[in-house]
């Protein structure tokens, strides 16, 4: 299904097209990775709504990214329950091994590191969301293992891409 078709299908759940802006932005972000201006304009045009309505939602809600994020977005919860269970040490560790500060993306574009407000999984604090998945009961060793598996997954994906579409000059 094209992005347009997906958005039109989502919009059918509402009596008013404006309500479909949030679901449309979710679809568009999945498609493009983030939401630059032209994508926001396309969403507005598909729904036939004011562009400013789309812009204001894309910039109000924290799950929408108007700037690019890394292949893996590490979203470490540092709210109270996770803080009490050691999320501060995990943040320090991530900043050290990735050699970036929170809010930044690694030079290879693999990891973006963020701290986020409560993920609603405090029973497994400290917890971090990566993509769609929650990783709980984290400590430094588990965090290292997770980073390793993400790097391996990225390596495999890159290998497949290289095999099917050799880069020019390689």
């Amino acid at each position: 299904m094209s992005m347009r078709e997906k958005i039109e299908q989502a919009a059918a759940a509402y009596p008013d097209q404006r309500s479909a802006i949030m679901p449309a932005l979710v679809i568009a972000q999945k498609e493009h990775g983030h939401l630059p201006g032209p994508v926001l304009e396309e969403v507005a045009d598909i729904l036939g709504v004011e562009r400013i309505w789309v812009y204001e939602l894309a910039t109000f809600y924290t799950l929408f990214h108007t700037e690019p994020v890394g292949k893996f977005h590490l979203q470490l919860c540092d709210n109270v329950s996770c803080m009490l269970c050691g999320s501060g040490d995990l943040l320090t560790h991530l900043e050290t091994v990735l050699e970036i500060k929170k809010g930044d993306t690694t030079a290879d574009g693999l990891f973006t590191l963020s701290t986020v407000e409560c993920l609603g999984a405090c029973e497994m604090a400290p917890v971090m969301q990566v993509g769609d998945d929650y990783h709980g009961n984290l400590d430094v060793a588990r965090l290292d293992a997770l980073l390793e598996s993400l790097r391996a997954a990225a390596g495999r994906a890159a290998g497949v891409e290289h095999a099917s579409q050799p880069m020019p000059g390689e």
Binding site: Y14, S19, A20, V49, F60, V80, S81, A121, C122, E123
Partner: protein, 421 residues
């Protein structure tokens, strides 16, 4: 031993599938409601049960439903608040992941009661597993005739749609959630009109929390007297308690309303970590004022906690032990509220910014004489003067920390350092 009702299917393998739910008597309440009760009778039954909203405010659910005008010419909407964002709270996620049909049956019975044909479940976007399971469950329920046109052969039509939030705590405030559902920035609305009269698309709307809706089928099946017989009469029922923080067995516990906080934390959740002592407990998410260790005998229900100067809220119980700095906890809580302030009203937007600055300098050992008086003054300026309850929650929490743990703040300022570092 209290037998779980709401979490009955949660520990069962494949508890999220329709076949499991049906095998445990699922959708019998919907069948019973449609065949034996008029919508008004369902409202009356829920009123009789004394069910109070599990989202935080504890408003009587049946009364909320009865505010919906009869025979209005506009469609009526049922909205489920599944934007669980109160730090320390994870009960609704677990219901939706492990037993989504319990919520769907609750939605269908409640929709029938208030005369709504459409429901929106506003679920936070981070809850990907819950969203997928709920989507699948809605499709299954449709196939079996529990949703859709002529539910179970009756003349009741009912559709459930999922609307994903995108990371705004304020959407837990019901009118902000309606704004968000209408495709706007989530900022609270002026009340009145109340949503029951003019809510979503200016139509009569009822907004209920996931756990509240999950209680409804059990009330229909087992009766109002059964429900009212669990816990205190004015604040009854089975209750989900989310226990987290510095405690041996963090997790979700279903127990009667009104059990002592001390029993919940020390017996069910295993008490403090080895070698530590409990210093304080936040009983209902970070909006709820902290309770010091000596007052943990308080009952976990709306009225008892209110009388003790705190609140049940979303029953997000956060345990803090003696290794932790209360200034640090208070600072982190206010940072959260400041980050999540929607920016609509000045006391919340500007006041919390100011509070954060003062708290950060105290925690960093750079506090000055007069800082605590300034915090008292700021709390006074915020509390009761904000558009919605977000600012109130922030001020109430800080006031409690300043009251019960003032000495820790004073030591930070006098010694020019955090004594816990």
């Amino acid at each position: 031993m209290f037998e779980p009702v709401l979490l009955k299917n949660v520990e069962i393998a494949n508890g999220h599938l329709l076949s499991t739910y049906e095998a445990g008597g699922g959708y019998q309440a919907l069948r019973k409601a449609l065949s034996e009760y008029t919508p008004d009778e369902v409202v009356e039954l829920v009123k009789q049960s004394n069910l109070r909203g599990r989202g935080g405010a504890g408003f009587p659910t049946g009364m909320k439903w009865s505010f919906v005008p009869k025979g209005a010419d506009k469609p009526k909407y049922l909205c489920c608040n599944a934007d669980e964002g109160e730090p320390g709270t994870f009960k609704d996620r677990i219901i939706m992941e492990r037993d989504p049909h319990q919520l769907i049956e609750g939605l269908a019975v409640s929709g029938y009661a208030i005369g709504a044909e459409t429901a929106y479940v506003y679920i936070r976007g981070e809850y990907v597993t819950a969203i997928r399971r709920l989507e699948r469950a809605i499709a299954e329920a449709h196939e079996k005739g529990y949703l859709g046109r002529n539910v179970l052969g009756s003349d009741f039509n009912f559709a459930v749609h999922i609307h994903c939030g995108a990371g705004a705590y304020i959407c837990g405030e019901e009118t902000a959630m309606l704004e968000s559902l209408e495709g706007k920035r989530a900022q609270p609305r002026l009340k009145p009109p109340f949503p029951a009269v003019a809510g979503l698309y200016a139509s009569p709307t009822v907004i209920n929390n996931v756990e509240t809706l999950a209680c409804v089928p059990h009330i229909v099946t087992r009766g109002a007297a059964w429900f009212r017989g669990i816990g205190p009469d004015k604040s009854p029922g089975p209750k989900l308690y989310c226990v987290s923080g510095q405690v041996r067995k963090p997790g979700l516990y279903e127990l009667p309303m009104g059990i002592p906080l001390k029993e919940l934390v020390e017996e069910h959740a295993g008490g403090p970590l080895p070698g530590r002592k409990i210093k304080a407990v936040i009983p209902g998410g970070v909006s709820a004022p902290v309770i010091p260790e000596h007052a943990l005998e308080v009952g976990m229900d709306f009225d008892s906690l209110s009388a003790a100067g705190s609140m049940l809220g979303s029953a997000g119980v956060i345990v803090v032990d003696d290794s932790t700095c209360m200034v640090k906890v208070a600072t982190r809580i206010i940072e959260f509220f400041h980050h999540e302030s929607c920016g609509k009203c000045t006391p919340c937007r500007e006041g919390l910014n100011w509070v954060v600055k003062v708290l950060r300098r105290i925690e960093a050992g750079e506090g000055a004489p007069g800082d605590l008086e300034q915090l008292d003054m700021l709390c006074k300026g915020i509390f009761g003067n904000t558009f919605c309850a977000l600012g109130d929650g922030a001020a109430m929490g800080l006031r409690a920390a300043l009251k019960h743990f003032r000495e820790e703040f004073v030591v930070h300022i006098e010694e020019g350092r955090c004594p816990f570092h």
